[in-house]
Symmetry: C2
Subunit: 240 residues, 2 copies
């Protein structure tokens, strides 16, 4: 996602001073950093646990080391939440249910499923967070883009999944279904969160005195997310 | 444990030059660092996964951060193995079976069992590795003592388990049984490893031209390990 648009942000995006002056905006940013922080914390736990599924010790060690990148991101987000006067645990709390449910419904059955989940699931999540980053103040945006940076996991997953499909093409059909299921569950939980958290939703669609994405922009965003997802599936050698 | 004896080592312990000159000794050290490295790697995976059992988000985050200390230790050991001309994965390979079996047989059923396992299980393992550290060259000893240093996990486990037993004393009986089962499984796997890995065993009991612990010393070592285990169980408020 080298789209430089995300690095500059929406022309009408809030300024850092809005964080102090506009309480609704501050709460929306706390929601954003809270959901991101809990996403990273759980991603860390899952990646670390999934390392034990690796077929070789060197793969296992590589996965474990990648997991530690997620916990560094988590720490950065928790620190920023505290700077904004928020209790990090309280900020994460509203997202424990939906994120927990997503993972409970998408527990990988094996090593390859765990890699596809890490690549495809993390990919669509970080794309979505990067889109939101275009709507917030520069300081928040820089932090979101930083924690959404790739941890090296992607290349590892792609190489391993492709090799497995080359060795046995039937694996591709099963993993393609798995990829679709992941996106379906992610969408379902994202809708749930958007319905429950007005502040977070307002970052995307705008607030009373803050511009957001119009309907056309929203449509364009979903188009970009879908295209990027399809590209990732193709990169793995899978049909989206 | 703070016994300063371990910081000085056995008077007849090997010198660093033995690592180069004595191939048997080098292989024994590779075994020692290999079993330690795999211990740390799996401890990391388990701690990170067990974090999801935590009853509160702040406990969950605290556990996840402690897990990352284990992966730093793992990295240090893997680097040292490479310096000694060993392939880290190959050095860990012989211990995948026993360590995996230990964890499969002692999967915690809940949050408190996971904390007791981390405190009591890690405690007896690191005490044992510290005892072996007294038998090896100063450089290896320093590394073993470093990776066996406490990661902050102990205080956390003690406070949480004690509070749970205070709130409901019946929990103490169940956790005391659990502690005994952990030690039994650990001993069983340690015996298995000692029987299979002559090099590792020779670090403790000595080799052809290298002194080791005599029978009296071995007995004293087991006495120290048992005493320390009993103290840990008491610290948790449990009968050993």
């Amino acid at each position: 996602m080298s789209d430089s648009r995300h690095g500059h942000g929406h022309p009408d995006a809030p300024t850092p001073s809005d964080l102090v002056e506009d309480e609704d905006y501050r709460l929306a940013v706390v929601d954003l950093l809270g959901v991101l922080a809990y996403t990273e914390l759980v991603a860390f736990e899952r990646l670390a646990a999934d390392a034990s599924l690796a077929p070789t010790i060197s793969d296992e060690a590589a996965l474990a080391l990648m997991a530690t990148a997620e916990i560094r991101h988590f720490t950065r987000l928790a620190e920023r939440l505290a700077e904004l006067g928020a209790d990090p645990s309280a900020a994460m709390e509203p997202f424990v249910g939906p994120i927990g449910e997503f993972h409970a419904k998408t527990a990988p059955g094996d090593w390859l499923e765990s890699l596809v989940k890490a690549y495809v699931g993390d990919g669509i999540a970080t794309d979505f967070y990067r889109e939101i980053a275009g709507q917030v103040d520069p300081e928040t945006r820089a932090l979101v883009l930083e924690v959404c940076s790739d941890t090296g996991h992607a290349n590892f997953a792609v190489a391993t999944v492709r090799a497995a499909i080359d060795a046995d093409p039937r694996i591709g059909g099963r993993l393609a279904l798995w990829g679709r299921r992941l996106v379906g569950e992610a969408m379902s939980q994202a809708q749930h969160v958007a319905g429950e958290r007005d502040g977070l939703a307002s970052l995307v669609v705008g607030g009373v005195d803050r511009p957001g994405m119009g309907l056309a922009e929203l449509g364009a965003m979903f188009h970009r997310l879908t295209e990027a997802h399809t590209r990732r599936m193709q990169t793995l050698g899978l049909q989206a």
